[in-house]
Amino acid sequence: MSNEITIKIDGIEYKTQEGEYILNAARANDIFIPAICYLTRCSPTLACRICLVEADGKRVYACNAKAKDGMEVTTTTEEILEERRAIMEVYDVNHPLQCGVCDQSGECELQNYTLELGVDSQSYMIPDTKRETIEWSSILHYDAGLCIVCERCTTVCKDMMGDSAIKTGPRGGEKLGKEQKSLMPKDAYAMWNKLQKSVIVPSNGTDQTNCSDCGECIAVCPVGALVSKDFVYTTNAWELKRVPATCAHCSSGCQIYYETKHTSIEDKTEKIYRVTNEWNYVSLCGAGRFGYDFENRVEGKDKEAFDRAVEALKKADTIKFNSVITNEEALMLQTLKDEFGKKLVNSDAYAFQQFLRAYSKPAGQILYGSDFKEIMKTDFVISVGASLRNDNPNARYAFNNIQKMNKGSGLYFHPIADSLISDMGKNIVTFAHKVGQEEAVLYLILDLFADKSKLAEDTIDYINSFHSTKTVIVKEKVMKSITETVTDKATGESKEITKKVPEMVEKEVEVDVNELVTLVGGDSKFADTFTKIMKKKETFSLIIGEDLYYHPKAKNLANLVALIETSCNMKVAMIPPKTNSLGVALICELDESEDGYVVGYNEIGDFEISALGSGDFDIPAMNQQEGTLTNMNKRVTPTNSALEYKGYELNDLMKSLGCNQDLTIDWTPLLASKRGFISANFDDLPNGYTNSGEENRGYALENLMKRDSDFEVNKFDDSIVLDGEIAYRCNPQRQFNDFTDKTHQIFESFSLYASPSKAKALGDKVEVNFGKESMVLGVVADDRMGGDIVSIPDFKSDKDVYSLFGRDRYKIVTIKKV
């Protein structure tokens, strides 16, 4: 795809990529072509038709016409301007003139383009249709009256989120008169005709969307039709101060803006009103968009607590923390380990660190070779060991986007069936394998994709041992000619008619049977399906999920992943379990278990240092501090403090323990002492995107190459397969940690999640027994889940779910009704 070509836009030559849309080529070169309905990473909708340009003398839509070498593009001609103006006039027909109260408050594309195209009079009219304001969910507020049906929301929901929760539905408006067609430009008429018929509705037929409440539709809405319910009419956009930051909830580390303003006339303290994003280049999840009010408000510096915290740190044998922590803080904790010999315990990062280390040896690099931006460009994606819907929204968006945009295919291996994934596209095959069979899955991938010449002899032999040939009887459709005599009733004449009738014929065929497919739960027709979905696929990628890090055979799995990466020409990326697990894994030397006096850092311990407001010593939450986070795209990205924090932070404790860095961000360049990081000052780190969508945030980790060494992959071990009542440690969508739980717009409860049938069987409340300990949980039915495995969230640190599960992500439990 990366063939550079030259096109001429308005007489000036520009370089672009073969197959790039004209619109994107123009945007990358800072040329303005108006477009309302187009979203950069989604498929062209062709709803607005305003991006009309002339390419080589023909009128095309810049958003879906691909650039060809030597193409000459004219962005504006008299006719095009007339057409565009007519389109804007049509958009303005019956659009309420209530800009004063509209939440878009001037950041309105309808307004901008109306002015840009100089619409100062209206030539069209049609009776208006009453359109009601509907609340689609506890988050989404849709004012149909303001909607211009550009379908950006439906497009992003389908192409990016994968929810496909909304679609266009009938508006019930008056039909356009035929005579209009002759009175106005062609495209404007076509656009109007469509506009007059449609409005956005939830795609499940009710007036409630059943989606992951990510709010991306709100972000992309060019007018004020879609707004979050909490934000409606609370403030004008121009009053909000935008603080560029990095989302602190999961390892995606999306770029976000916290938008802040004083709380009210009486209360002057800053408050975050909403979170916005560069929606053309990054998509948020519900937690990122709505989970913003997790700040830790303190009145001032509590000297007594500070002294106690210093004492506690001196006394501590172990510091227990989780990965909702900046790189700088992690480095501080590691410094405590280096200087004072404290043990560092981090339940989520430890397994990941072990896995990465096991992987890095055979792979010859400290980090996985690819990232999710790369993966998004591939056209065949495989996900292993990740509950994509819950573990990481951006991995899920990538998986979905590949299906929609790259006409791609996917394989999804996970013990829990997920209807969201299978709904993402027709070319997805899902495998609900048994817990513990991940090794077999990776062998299957090796079998399907590996360049066999790159594999060791015994590995090939091992793989081949699963293959056998079998003679099967296949039914085939054959067309047969039948001649019939028909008598015409009216005339009494007889006629002979020859018909072709399909007939099923049985045939014996020799088939290659792959034992591995059957083993991991594939059906017998997989071989055929696989050939079908493999058609025209060129680039392959593999997403590795958290299940593998917690697998008893994690080391072997890591070796297998490395083997797949080297032998299958496959882009591999891993999902770090929590926000900054990758950073912590690189920065800290983690210990397996805690002992002695434990200081909990956002975790339970004998002394709790916490940003949740419930601990013994308060520290700022992620939206109150500066620092960097390492995201799953192997980037170190800066985050800023959106809200004031009046108390002490970890660096103050470090100062009194003898580590004299003036500010927390003075630790940023010191990260260079750890592998992958470079010496960069915090204030020099950019945080944005260029016009062409290039990520210009922080810096990319260096994936240092190490000397290759031989490694062995072991045969898979079937004895670890779990059977029985299985609990899976997995958070509901939009819940990641204590901080998301603290926010008021995220409602998912700390309960046991099960498929509807299972939930029905379990009742309302259950006691889950982990052997030694047990916990009582409510039961919530998750209608996208399938199978009998239940999910138990880990987002509350005080429930200590990690220690209940131990070194596993799946655990055999006994569940009792309570």
Binding site: C99, V101, S121, Y124, M125, V232, Y233, I265, E266
Partner: protein, 207 residues
């Protein structure tokens, strides 16, 4: 003088009249002549007559100029910019302010603040609105920018008070509901221009 004439600032169009003044005499004789002439003309008595006439007018003609200020007040110019008034809709009595925040934005002394919310009737409700009159410079931009003619300058110019907040609450500025009938349309700064109809292109509504 009508408002239009008053607003006309094109110097030269008004009918000014030049006074025909005599030259000051240069010579002693000339000066003496002037004195003699003025004495004989009785100009001094004209002066006396004028004052006497005015006294007569004042005492018996009812033309006393004095306004007994706190008891009597002169009507002020519609262009006068005193403490703001928040107007109501004449039909429904609901306040006109839609909470668009433009006054808050344009205010050059940053003295207007408002809180808004989504109310039960799916409307934007102004839950709090204050003007800090310690800061307000009465520039009138808020009245000019207001799309609903909701905030206007009223006639309350007696702004001495013990508390700066005395005038600043929404309820204080809002036309009392029982005085709705007396509410006058503001025709000062920011009001609809007399030729507004000519300046807009109308949207067709033929059905």
């Amino acid at each position: 003088m009508s408002l239009e004439e008053f607003k006309n600032r094109n110097v030269g169009e008004q009918s000014y009249r030049m006074l025909d003044l005599e030259h000051t005499p240069e010579t002693g004789l000339g000066k003496f002549g002037q004195v003699a002439k003025r004495t004989v003309k009785g100009e001094l008595f004209v002066g006396l007559w004028v004052t006497l006439r005015e006294m007569k007018n004042a005492l018996f003609g009812g033309k006393m100029h004095t306004i007994k200020y706190p008891l009597e007040k002169l009507p002020i110019s519609p262009r006068y910019r005193a403490i703001h008034d928040m107007l109501r809709l004449l039909e429904s009595g609901h306040y006109r302010c839609i909470g668009c925040g433009l006054c808050e934005k344009i205010c050059i002394s940053d003295c207007i603040k408002m809180d808004t919310r989504y109310d039960e009737n799916q409307r934007k409700e102004v839950s709090e609105y204050t003007i800090n009159f310690g800061r307000c410079i009465f520039c009138g931009y808020c009245a000019e920018v207001c799309p609903e003619l909701a905030i206007v300058h009223g006639g309350r110019y007696e702004t001495a008070s013990e508390q700066r907040a005395s005038f600043s609450l929404f309820e204080d500025m809002l036309t009392p509901i029982d005085a709705l009938k007396q509410q006058k349309e503001f025709d000062g700064f920011g009001a609809v221009s007399p030729n507004a109809d000519e300046n807009i292109k109308k949207t067709p509504l033929a059905y």
